[in-house]
């Protein structure tokens, strides 16, 4: 009985504190704080070239492997063989499906904000 009473009291206290802190919890507007932080950050070397370096290596490797295995040649031949209507349908459906997925994704992220 005593234990139950104690448990009940603890639950009530917990709820009271949650309410109390919840009432006092307020979002603080930025008011230029982030900009002040950004201005104070020390200058560091721009390393965005790393991204371009790896992108370049990737493209070169793809081309080399494609040429070595004959995959690129085969792809060109394949494009010439298949009916142009198929290509057209493929491009259109890819754009429609891709566009829908991107739009739905954006809608979801707005909802999260």
């Amino acid at each position: 009985m005593f234990t139950l009473h104690k448990l009940d009291m603890e639950t009530n206290n917990d709820k009271m504190l949650k309410d109390f802190f919840g009432e006092n919890k307020k979002e603080i507007a930025d008011f230029g704080f982030s900009q002040r932080v950004m201005r104070k950050l020390p200058e560091q070397a721009d390393r965005s070239w790393i991204m371009w370096l790896f992108a370049g290596i990737g493209i070169v490797l793809t081309l080399l492997l494609g040429l070595y295995t004959g995959l690129i040649e085969y792809a060109f031949l394949f494009i010439q063989i298949i009916p142009q209507l198929y290509i057209l349908i493929g491009v259109v459906s890819f754009s429609v499906i891709g566009g829908t997925v991107v739009l739905l994704g954006q809608k979801n992220s707005y909802r999260m904000i």
Partner: protein
């Protein structure tokens, strides 16, 4: 905005030195970090903004040491916690800590502190460690494990801080008639 975004932005800052990505992290976490400092300093807006700024600069300088074992938020709070106690130590208040004196020094007259007077009055009855743990638990919705990680103490100790803080605050609020509202 999820934790995945945090990891992506951290990677952009670490690998590419992309400041824009860090700006996104700052925008996302400025409010909780400034609120944490505001409550720890009993409503001193200039001081809490200075400490928050120092926290973000330290986070930027040490971002490569973020391993992703805990969330970015927990890692940032840990820096904030250290920055706060460092500032107290630097002011030589920590050794013979006179909390009432510190609080009255930190207390400035501004609209925000006036609005939050009740919470600061309530927090003053707690020890600094209890204040930190209670604020992180009830205000910032951190788990016991995260609080232990932020305060760099064993899980049991963090739980004790919260429990003691909770008991003291419950008595204080009940006596102040808060529960009857």
């Amino acid at each position: 905005m999820s934790n995945t975004d945090d990891i992506r932005w951290v990677a952009q800052v670490t690998l590419l030195g992309d400041k824009t990505a860090f700006d996104k992290l700052t925008c996302k976490y400025q409010s909780p970090i400034r609120r944490f400092f505001l409550n720890m300093t009993m409503g001193d807006v200039p001081l809490s903004d200075d400490l928050a700024q120092e926290t973000f600069i330290k986070a930027y300088l040490n971002i490569a040491s973020f391993r992703g074992l805990s969330g970015f938020s927990t890692w940032l709070y840990r820096i904030a916690y250290n920055v706060y106690y460092d500032s107290v130590r630097v002011q030589k208040h920590y050794a013979d800590i006179d909390e009432i004196q510190i609080d009255s020094q930190h207390q400035t007259q501004n609209e925000f502190s006036a609005e939050k007077m009740d919470i600061h009055k309530a927090l003053k009855i707690l020890r600094k460690e209890e204040q930190t743990a209670v604020l992180l638990f009830y205000m910032e919705d951190k788990t016991h494990k995260e609080i232990a990680s932020i305060m760099n103490c064993p899980l049991g100790t963090a739980k004790t801080y919260i429990l003691k803080g909770k008991e003291k605050l419950s008595v204080y609020l009940t006596q102040a008639g808060y529960g009857n509202k």
